[in-house]
């Protein structure tokens, strides 16, 4: 995938929820794109629609939630549009997803090895046992895990939170998807582990040229990792642009208020990734 090519495009995406007889707007006319080799941060308060946005791409919306208008395109093909929903073909294959609570996103009854082989066998046609083994080890190495064999043979509860999150990321990228979506995936981690995970994501994006949609409420984290940032409020993208620009020269009040709410935020102090 060439760098700079649009991988994911959300075009005037409107999502509603049916509650009782009413239709609630969860997302209104969202325009956003993620290019190969790019990290796009989606920030905003809880309830601003970040998670709805992330989950709409993999088709994991609640039963009463539906795409009302607009479309989602993945590598130029319509993934979700009027009368179309191909998210089930993309999940795990061309889109990987990492969730909020990594420690609980692994099946407690299954070893890490089984998690990986399950995904590989599902998505890589005709893959043999040796290749499953090789790719499992390789992807853990890529996650900067020093002793992949021990981790492969472990159950989730035998691993630290940081390791579990790396395994979760490994599961999202082992099938070589074009796009990875991370939904608040560092929230449950301590600051040091957060920094490691962020560095890991940067590495993956730079080396594999994947696109990363990074959903977070943590502006500091977003400023460390993201190339561009979309600010969401009440279901709308109110501001989108290069990280520096959005964080240093916000154009809407909402972004300024978000920034003001971050402790010790001084303008220009962060946003080191230009």
């Amino acid at each position: 995938m060439a760098r700079g090519e649009a991988l994911l495009e959300l075009r005037s995406l409107t999502i509603t929820a049916s509650v009782a007889d009413r239709q609630l707007l969860l997302l209104r006319d969202v325009e956003l794109e993620v290019r190969a080799g790019e990290v796009v941060g989606v920030v905003g308060e809880s309830g601003s629609g970040k998670t709805t946005l992330a989950r709409s791409v993999v088709g994991l919306l609640e039963r009463n939630v539906q795409v009302a208008t607009g479309r989602i395109e993945l590598v130029g093909e319509v993934l979700v549009g009027p009368g179309t929903d191909l998210t089930h073909t993309a999940r795990g294959r061309s889109v990987g997803m990492v969730f909020q609570d990594a420690s609980r996103s692994l099946n407690p009854l299954m070893r890490v090895r089984r998690h990986l082989s399950e995904v590989l066998e599902r998505h890589v046609d005709g893959i043999g046992r040796d290749e499953v083994r090789a790719r499992s080890t390789e992807v853990l190495r890529r996650m900067r895990i020093d002793d992949p064999d021990r981790v492969l043979d472990s159950y989730p509860h035998q691993l630290s939170g940081g390791l579990r999150q790396r395994v979760a990321i490994a599961l999202a990228v082992v099938t070589n998807p074009a796009l990875v979506i991370a939904d608040e995936c560092t929230t449950a981690l301590d600051v040091t582990t957060q920094a490691e995970v962020v560095a890991l994501f940067r590495e993956l994006v730079d080396e594999l040229h994947i696109g990363l949609l990074f959903v977070t409420h943590d502006l500091m984290l977003a400023s460390d990792l993201c190339d561009r940032i979309a600010v969401m409020s009440q279901g709308e993208v109110v501001e989108v642009g290069p990280t520096d620009q959005v964080l240093r020269h916000p154009t809407v009040d909402y972004t300024r208020r978000l920034l003001a709410a971050v402790p010790h935020w001084t303008e220009g102090a962060s946003a080191t990734h230009a």
Binding site: V58, L60, H88, T89, A90, R91, G92, R93, G96, M97, F99, Q100, D101, R104, S105, L106, N107, P108, L109, E118, V119, R122, H123, Y155, H157, Q158, A168, L171, A172
Partner: protein, 307 residues
Amino acid sequence: MSRVLVRKGLRHLGAALITLWLAVTMAFALGRLSGDPTSNILGPMATPEQRDALQAQLGLDQSLVVQYLDYLKGIVTLDFGTSLQFYQPNLDMILDRLPFTLQLVGAGMAIAVAIGVPLGVLAATREGTWWDRTASALALLGQSVPVFWLGMMLILLFAVRLGWLPAGQSGSWQHLVLPAVTMSLYPMAHVARLTRASMSEVLREPYIDSARARGLRVRSVVWRHGFGNASAPVLTIVVLQAGALLSGAVAVEYVYSWPGLGQLALQAIQFRDFPLVQAIVVFGAITFVVLNQLVDMLHVAIDPRLR
């Protein structure tokens, strides 16, 4: 690690033995509370001398402590006494009847699981829909229908009216169908309700969402990731229900004249054949305690977090 397991195992064994002792003692005490069996055996015309002789023969002239110790000694040496009405060793009679009850309980529980589990899973995956409500209503019905009534209705329909199946007794697989179906209904409903409750909890777990996000087949998500994690309480109830039915399938066995343990227990109680009642109670208690241990072991086998 293994030392922890051994210590855990020993503690379990100790608890099991204490449970057994309590059950055995209870059986003894209840047997003595039910009155003097000699008058029952000898009838109203017996003389006091005859009664004294029989009491001496049964050891009832001894003090309660001595009787109790004799009784305990018998159990430890697998001597469960002799029936007052059949003049046979109780253990032999229990072992004669056991295969019939095992057949019945095995078939009944198999039907219960084969229908109850899918029904519960179906309801949980379609929570709040028409499917769910129907399945839940059926389960409620299944738990409310009295066994003896259901048994008689099935006999009326399938044996008397349609003539498809025998109305009672044993001998072929056709004889097994109606009693097994009758017996399965209550545990089936129980299993369905429990499966639904446990599944609907598990389906909200983040690892279910992430399994879906990985693009796994619905079948894998629901069964491997979902039911795998929801199965523990279901397994417990299946095994313990089976244990309870092994010595408690009285109604079903009575309705279908099925020659199992339940029948034997009924006969023993009616005749105040207290050694036989005791033996059956002790046998039931042992089965139950063993099955309990089995459940614990199965849980450990399934869930690595318990190891």
